[in-house]
Structure formats: C-alpha cells, structure tokens
C-alpha cells in the first residue's frame, strides 16, 4: 500500500518539482494521505497555502481536518501509529524528505492547540521563551525584548506585563490561549497552524482570538481548523472544505476564496453543508 502510494506521488510530483525547485515560497500540499495504524484518515489532499493570509479548513467532525493540519508540521506522526504519505512543500522543500529533521520543520511551522496548554510549572515569561531556550541561550535583555514583543503581538502584554512571574496556568482560559499564541510566535515561525483555537473559550475570548488572528496575518501565514462556519467566514481569506466519503476517509472537496466558497460554492456537497448549517 505504501509502495503504491509512493509511486503515485512520484509520478504526480515529477511535473511539479520543476516549479518547486525555483525557490518557491509558502506551503504546498501534494497528494497527502494519512493513516492511524491501518485506518486511513485522509486521502490525496492537494492544496496551496497562500502566504500572509488566513486559510480555514472546515468540515463536519471526523472529516480529517485536524489530521490534515497536524500533517503540515509533522505532528501527526507523534501519535502512535500515525503515518503520512505524499508531499508537503515548505519553501520548495518536502518536509517529509529523508534528510529533513522534523524538529526543524516545527520551528518553522508553529502550532496552537484546541485546549490551551501552557506549561503549568513555568511562569508566563518562561512559557513565552520556552521555544527559544531550546535552541540558544540569549542574554536576559534580549529575552526580555522577545517576551514583550511576542506578548504584544499576541495582544496579551497589557494584561500580564505586571505578572510575568506567575504560573502560566493561573491565567484565564482566553489569556492562556493567547499565551500559547505568544509562545508559538516567539520562535518566529513562517506559518502558524491553529486547531480550533477558540472552541474551548467563551464568546468574548473567542472574539479576541479572532481579532488577534487578523493582526497576525500581517506577518504570518495562518492555517486554522474550525467547526464553526461563521468563524471561518469571518476571519479567513481562503477556505478549504473537507468531507469524509462513504469509506470514512476524508477528502478535500473544495478550496478557494472564502467569499466564493460561502456564497457560490462549486460543489453541491459544499453547498449542502453550508446551507444546512446556515439554514
């Protein structure tokens, strides 16, 4: 099964590598499939992520949207039995290439999770610099700058600047999630993946996260998974709609400009999903 998969990738990729070689910028997904042990979760996804924009992945639960997201920074393989086939190009290089270090991929493609997961044994300050400290030791003044800049970018600085030494877990849920965003952007990734970042939050905190995403796309490419279609239509520039087929394997049904997808979907299934939910 894997061999066959690899062959298709090879065939398919031959014409595309040409483009890839010319210092292509951004992320492109080619023929991506993912498995949990013997069970396939997504199949043959092809997708180009537009830089400095927000791409939303929507679809009913179980359609593989989170799985797809986790494939984009090699988090899927962290789950026991998680396997990936296909290609994800980041700036023209396949992140699944044999010479690629998954640890380096994750430094360029950050992630924010569904449930805020600050490190409870670390202070707010240490949470923000946790990623930086892995790679190099910087003088305190430089770290201070990074902490302030990251927290400002995450729209959290004003609320926590006087309590940088309290545990990251003592903040409110919405603040925790913004702390996790600050933690992710402190290492200056190119792309930030967000897996339903507001689903555990109350409406006000959700609103602040959405507002923050709008600010962040000036600097970062954002891919967000959400089950909330209003949210997708509000915040995203591009939308990908996924659906699990009869064999329960998720596929990409439609991908395009958010306005197009929501107002004038090309595929009947997209239309059904959107109108069903909106109606």
């Amino acid at each position: 099964m894997i061999t066959a998969e690899r062959d298709t990738v090879k065939q398919d990729s031959e014409n595309k590598t040409g483009i890839a070689r010319d210092g292509e910028h951004g992320m492109r997904v080619v023929n991506l499939s993912a498995w949990y042990g013997p069970v396939q979760a997504v199949r043959d996804i092809n997708l180009s992520i537009v830089p400095q924009a927000i791409t939303a992945i929507i679809g009913p639960s179980g359609c593989g949207k989170s799985t797809l997201l986790r494939c984009l920074n090699r988090m899927h393989e962290v789950i026991p039995g998680g396997r990936v086939g296909g290609v994800v190009l980041l700036d023209g290089q396949n992140i699944y290439g044999p010479e690629v270090d998954p640890v380096r991929v994750r430094r360029l493609v950050g992630m924010v999770f569904q449930k805020p997961n600050p490190f409870p044994m670390m202070s707010v300050y240490d949470n923000v610099v946790a990623g930086i400290k892995l790679n190099r030791s910087l003088p305190k003044s430089e770290l201070d700058d990074i902490v302030e800049r990251s927290l400002r970018q995450a729209a959290l600085w004003g609320e926590v600047k006087d309590k940088l030494n309290v545990s990251g877990a003592s903040l409110s849920g919405g603040q925790q999630q913004r702390l996790c965003i600050a933690r992710a952007i402190a290492i200056k990734p190119e792309i930030i993946l967000m897996d339903e970042p507001a689903s555990a939050l109350d409406p006000l905190a959700t609103y602040r996260i959405e507002e923050l995403m709008g600010d962040l796309k000036e600097r970062y490419t954002i891919v967000v998974v959400t089950h909330n279609m209003q949210q997708a239509s509000r915040v995203s520039d591009y939308t990908a709609f996924m659906l699990a087929g009869d064999d329960r394997i998720g596929e990409l049904v439609e991908y395009g400009d958010t306005n197009e997808v929501f107002t004038n979907p090309r595929d009947k299934r997209t239309e059904g999903y959107i109108t069903g939910r909106f109606g």
Partner: protein, 324 residues
C-alpha cells in the same frame, strides 16, 4: 437457612441483619486500628527500660556493648541512612529512566510485557535477593567493582574517603546496591503512573515548539511529574529503610565505629535486630533491640506519611493546571 432468614425478615429482622453486618465489618476495620495501636503500645512498652536508661544518648552514641550493657544505636541509624541513600542514588535515576522508557519510548505492544518483567522484581522475596547478593553480587563487587572504584574515584580528594580502606566483600555499598535493585520496581511502577498522568497536550505543546523528544521530556514531562516522582522515590526510600534479610546477608553485621568509607561492614537497624535478637540474653539487651525497632517504626511511618502527602498532592495536579 434461607427460609429462616426470610422468616425473620418478615418479622422486621431485616434491619437486624444489616445492623449486624455493619457492626461486623466495622469491628474488623476498627480491629486494624486497634492492631496498630497495640503494635505501637507493645513495642514502646518493651523499649521503655532501654529508653529510660539511656535517654537521648540512645540515638546519639555509637557504643553497642552487650557485655557492659551500654547501648547506643547511632551506628545502626547511620548504616540505615547510608545504605538507603546509596540505594536511592542508584535506583532513582534508573527507575525514572525505565519509567520514561515505558511511557515515552516503547511501542504499545511491548509496554505491558516489559512492565510485568520489571514488576516481577517486586515479588521476589527478600531472602532470595540476600542469597543472590551473598553468593553472586558480593564476590563481583569485591573482585571487580570495588577495586575499580578505589582505583578511580578513590583517588579523588574528599569523595575518595567513601572508597577507602580494605575491601572485605561485606559492606554498606553492597547492601546499598542490593537495596537499589529491590526498590527499583517500586519506584519505576509509581513513576510510570505519574508520567502517564501527564496530559498529552503538554507533550504536544513542547513538540510543536520544535523540541526534540528529550527536550520535550525535560521541558514538559518531568517538571509536570516532579512532585510525583519525588513521592515515588520516597516510597522507595521507605521500603529500603525497613528491608531486612537481603541487607543482613551482605552488610557484614559489624558494629565497629562509624566510618566514612562505604567499604566498611556495618549494620542497619533492621539487620541489627534480625541478627542479634535470638542471641540477646539480658532484659536490657532485649529492650535496647526493641528500642531500635521503635526508632525504625517511627522513621518508616514518617517517611510513609511524607510519601502519601506527595502522592496526594500529585493527585490534585499542579496548581491551576490548564483546567478548562
């Protein structure tokens, strides 16, 4: 029997049966409290004459002279502390490593069999550790490990004193090593439970920052599990403090003066009791040995309570941990 029972039930005896049963199990449960009280009372009672005779000096002097009837348990206390510390120093890191291997590295199908093998170490009786220690480990330590330590670490100033003196093949280091093996399964099993309680979201948070597996463990898993691992170690310590047979067989049982060298034969509190109890020939000698048992009982209780408190704290999770 059944008919009689239902007959009496009709007569309003239902409550009687329930009451009787409740009294019975409550009585048994209270019995355990009475038992513990009796243990403390009797041990204290028989230790009393030695405690009255020697007072605090029982804990602070190392003279143990049955002929002159002068008794101080300091050497035994020292031996207990040193062997337990050696055991914890060796078994602690190895156990945490093994627990990490079982939770973070090993494939699922291998996890249970491997845990079972390590936990089997816990059901091997103390006497068999003693036998193995006496005939297999002690010669190995005497002929290979201890000369090596003496030639290397023994040359280093200050800590060299730990590895000085004649190598006899019965000493506190060997006892410590045997104890380390014996507490390994306890500390491993409890640490494994603690590590399993670390939420996966913590691990993923660290990995997504571009951490290697070890950096994930170091940055997210171990800090979260810190208190629980401490609790596991204290539980191991509790077991090491009271361990008797295996230590008795390899420690040399000699009450010579306290020496910094781990190569000195010694006594622990438990081995002193086991070794001398049946030879004690005077009231005061008995009483002194029972007093040693009393000290051991109190220390064990204290350490166990400390471990419970730590584990209890862990059960509540780190303060304010991302509860949503």
């Amino acid at each position: 029997m059944d008919k009689i029972a239902s007959g009496s039930r009709f007569a309003g005896g239902e409550d009687q049966g329930d009451k009787l049963f409740r009294w019975l199990v409550t009585g048994l449960a209270v019995g355990t409290i009475v038992l513990l009280a009796l243990i403390i009372f009797l041990v204290f009672g028989d230790a009393r004459s030695a405690l009255l005779q020697f007072g605090l000096s029982f804990l602070t002097t190392a003279i143990w002279d049955p002929v002159a009837e002068r008794f101080g348990a300091l050497a035994f206390i020292y031996g207990t502390l040193v062997t337990s510390a050696v055991a914890l120093l060796i078994a602690g890191p190895i156990s945490v490593g093994a627990a990490l291997f079982l939770t973070e590295y090993v494939p699922k199908w291998l996890r249970e069999p491997l845990s079972f093998l390590i936990e089997l170490l816990a059901v091997i009786p103390s006497i068999i550790y003693g036998l193995w220690g006496l005939f297999i480990l002690a010669p190995l330590m005497r002929d290979a490990v201890e000369p090596f330590l003496q030639n290397t670490l023994g040359q280093v100033p200050v800590i060299g004193a730990l590895f000085s003196g004649a190598i006899l093949g019965r000493d506190m280091l060997i006892a410590g090593v045997i104890l380390a093996i014996m507490i390994l399964p306890t500390v491993t099993a409890v640490s494994r439970e603690v590590l399993r309680a670390v939420p996966d979201t913590q691990r993923e948070g660290m990995i997504a920052l571009g951490a290697t597996k070890w950096e994930m463990i170091q940055g997210a898993v171990l800090p979260y599990a810190k208190a629980g691992i401490a609790g596991a170690s204290v539980l191991g310590l509790a077991r090491a403090l009271g361990e008797t047979m295996a230590v008795t067989m390899v420690i040399g049982n000699s009450s010579s003066a306290i020496s910094p060298s781990l190569f000195t034969p010694g006594y622990t509190m438990a081995s002193a009791i086991a070794n001398q109890f049946t030879e004690a020939d005077s009231e005061m000698y008995f009483s002194a040995l029972v007093a040693v048992a009393l000290v051991l009982l109190l220390v064990a209780a204290l350490v166990n309570v400390a471990a419970r408190l730590l584990v209890w704290r862990v059960a509540r999770g780190p303060q304010g941990s991302a509860r949503l």
